[in-house]
């Protein structure tokens, strides 16, 4: 009798082999998963470190910043923040920035929605040229337009108002909004429109009640981009404002004076500019993950 004679039923042996394979696979994927986490972890540390450093310095007094090097604030102080929140010149900067960013978001989205719908649904004279022309506005470097802008807004009496900056930022925000929204809208089948018309909806009713809810995540993502680019832009907003509508980014340049740079206040003001961004990302985070590429794949 040789040992090659099978002693167990086929099914059992097969199950055992499968279990062994599964075990091997699980241990292997565990190492892979660990490696992926480590790589991502390194990148996240790279992202966080400069921001951590800003946070760290914002809780230190100037003498401590320049005196001793330490990884955390030794004598913790909120003085820099108190300074910002008690000085109207400072905190009005945040109000100004938020004001023109919100205006810009409202204007951009309300004109971009119908335009994107037209581009995604209809052929009309000059549509392709118009679309490319729109994209060229994204390419217009603000530096090119600084001086003409200044003169244009000055001559129509809009200089140093929030609406001036909001309108100026339309230059790059509206084309971007149309570009992104068009992608989302093309992802919605046209049969939806047709069914709605058969059901007796007028165009505005269909657009607001049926179509907009369908591309909700697209609108969320678009608003995120509108906020982002308007909030971070400096050159145009600085040129078009003097005192009444001065954005925070421009006020921050005030920290460098003849007696040197006020590092603590600079750091605290920097931290405060990040917070609105965090709030916005928090609200649209699910849309970003789910929605962005919809229709653009």
């Amino acid at each position: 009798m040789t040992s090659s004679v099978p002693t167990t039923p086929d099914r059992v042996r097969r199950q055992a082999a499968e279990a062994a394979a599964k075990r091997r696979k699980r241990t292997r994927s565990a190492t892979v998963r660990w490696r992926r986490r480590a790589l991502l972890g390194f990148y996240l540390i790279f992202v966080i470190l400069p921001i951590y450093w800003l946070l760290n310095l914002s809780f230190q007094s100037n003498s401590e910043i320049l005196g001793t090097f330490s990884f955390w604030p030794r004598s913790f102080t909120l003085g820099n923040y108190v300074g910002i929140f008690t000085d109207a010149n400072w905190y009005m900067g945040y109000v100004n920035s938020l004001a023109y960013v919100l205006m810009n978001m409202l204007i951009s989205i309300s004109v971009a929605l119908p335009a994107a719908y037209a581009f995604s649904r209809f052929k009309f004279i000059g549509d392709k040229h118009l679309f490319f022309w729109l994209l060229t506005n994204l390419m217009a470097p603000p530096a090119v337009f600084l001086l003409p802008y200044f003169q244009l807004y000055y001559s129509v009496g809009l200089f140093d108002t929030h609406i001036a900056v909001a309108l100026a930022h339309c230059l790059f925000n509206i084309p971007l909004a149309v570009w992104i929204l068009e992608g989302f809208m093309s992802g919605v089948p046209k049969e939806v429109d047709e069914t709605a018309y058969i059901d007796g909806y007028s165009f505005p009713a269909f657009f607001v009640k049926i179509f907009l809810p369908m591309i909700r995540s697209g609108i969320g993502v678009t608003l995120f981009f509108l906020f982002m680019f308007s909030w971070v832009e400096l050159l145009l907003s600085r040129t078009l404002t003097a005192t009444n509508a001065q954005p925070i980014a421009s006020i921050m340049t005030r920290t460098s004076t003849a007696s040197g740079i006020d590092w603590g206040t600079l750091a605290a003001a920097g931290v405060l500019t990040i917070i609105p961004g965090i709030v916005v990302v928090y609200f649209v985070r699910n849309h970003i993950a789910k929605g962005f590429a919809l229709g653009r794949t």
Partner: protein, 294 residues
Amino acid sequence: MNKVQNNRAWFLILPMLLLVAFSAIVPLMTVVNYSVQDVFDANTRFFTGTEWFEVMLNDRALQAALLRQFAFSFTILAIEVPLGIGIALLMPKRGWQASAVLILITLPLLIPWNVVGSIWQLFTRSDIGLMGVSIRELGYAYNITRNPSDAWVTIILMDVWHWTPLIALLCYSGLRAIPDAYYQAARIDRASKWAVFRYIQLPKLTNVLVIGVLLRFMHSFMIYAEPFVLTGGGPGSSTTFLSQTLTTMAIGQRDLGPSAAFSLIYFLIILLVCWVFYTAIMNSQKDNTTQGGA
């Protein structure tokens, strides 16, 4: 999608067109107007023809700034695009971890551009900055205000920090939009990870990558506030990019004619490069779809 011919769609476009034209065409005409004149003040100006264009095209400093600009733009694209795709592939797909990573990664995007410069200044100073001090402790005399190559590397690092998230974000959402069926089919065919990436994920990412690459290229060509705050364009002119040259010329020296001519040249360069990119990517995508369909 089959589109219907409908010229009334113009009415839907009209409000947008008026707004964009107000912020785009009027200033552009002013720039063209300046570029062919010698402007002394509001009432004294002379027609000079294409003289400014010749002057600008022969300006050595400008040529150097342009070369530097191209070197910078292509370097950061070469780093940020693969890195961004890699990060997007590594990011967790669901649950609280996905949200947390997403929020952390988007942070640099939402910081005003001059604040980014300030952050990196605080981070890299060799007396109070974490990175500056650490590198000095390692025994290298790191100094971005004296050493041009240190300044150059730091600015690239700063840009990678600032903008890789945009590519990662776009790719991440692009990846989320790939239906599971594709992956299942790949598993049945026992496709390798590389094959899955090359033939499923990458083609599906093309569209969002077009947005990402074009936006990145345009913005890197307009980069102004970050290097201005970090190095002020120095040491020497080693980190002076086109926007800064232009702004100094137009606002600082009020040389309206030359700076307008320069603006137009600059605009045309961006337009040309973007058009080349756009057509190239669109064509390669067309090839991909025909291959996939065959």
